[in-house]
Amino acid sequence: MKRALLILLLGAALAAAGYTGVFWAATAPARAEMCSPAPELAWLKAEFKIDDTQFARISQLHEGYLPQCQERCREIASKNAALSARIAQTGAVTADIEKGMTEVAMLKADCQKETLRHFMAVARLMPPAQGQRYLQWVLGQTFPCHSTATNAACHMMSMQ
């Protein structure tokens, strides 16, 4: 019985060791990305096969873009809060509410414009095929009717 029990346990130990080893190896890239200072950029680098020089420039661009983006977000949030308060007060669509809505829409449009510019700048720093793929993907994630947006963006890219 001892021999049979030993074989049983050895089989289970082999299965556990195999599982752990392969799981560890298969999740190593994700772990490395998660441990990097900017995991989302590490993901971008791996996903779009960006070399170190391109990655340094993209990171720089990203770092420069973020504070402006955050500032625009703060502005939109503040306008939205003011607009919500005004709507709650009046209970009707007054002229200043209309004006406020227009302002928020314009801010959002500005924000979109800047975001699109950023995407294009990032795509230009990537290898051409990867840049196209990046644009297609990121526009699909961020803009409605993305196929149209992608086509437009690609068209604009080719014109620049």
Binding site: M1, R3, A4, L5, I7, L8, L10, G11, A12, L14, A15, A16, A17, G18, Y19, T20, G21, V22, F23, W24, A25, A26, T27, P29, A30, E33, M34, P39, E40, L41, A42, W43, L44, E47, H62, Y65, L66, C69, R72, C73, I76, K108, C111, Q112, T115, H118, F119, V138, G140, Q141, T142, F143, P144, H146
Partner: protein
């Protein structure tokens, strides 16, 4: 026992003689026999079956190979799933970082 029974007891005790000394290693032999009796008792059916099956080297080797393969396969499958999940989370995080006000699909 009644008080009058003491006499009977005394008589019996006076007649009693200690038998011959215990044979050497008596206690050890008793324990050995107990162990042998326990070992001889039939165990559950699967014990016998396992012993019989794993007595064959090819079966034991196949069992271990199959378990190893299952472990490797499960580790690979689960690892890939985890990897994909992390990639999707990081992709979403990237999008939310650069375009927090854009519509998400």
């Amino acid at each position: 026992m009644k008080p009058g029974d003491d006499k009977v007891l005394h008589k019996e005790l006076a007649r009693w003689k200690a038998g011959p000394p215990l044979p050497p290693r008596f206690q050890e032999n008793v324990w050995r026999r107990i162990e042998q009796a326990e070992a001889a008792r039939p165990g559950p059916w699967w014990r016998g079956w396992l012993e019989e099956v794993f007595a064959r080297r090819a079966v034991a080797l196949s069992y271990m190979t199959i378990l190893l393969a299952l472990g490797l396969g499960a580790g690979y499958w689960h690892g890939r799933a985890e990897q994909r999940l992390t990639q999707a989370q990081l992709a979403e995080r990237y999008v939310r970082t650069v375009a927090p006000y854009q519509e998400m699909p």
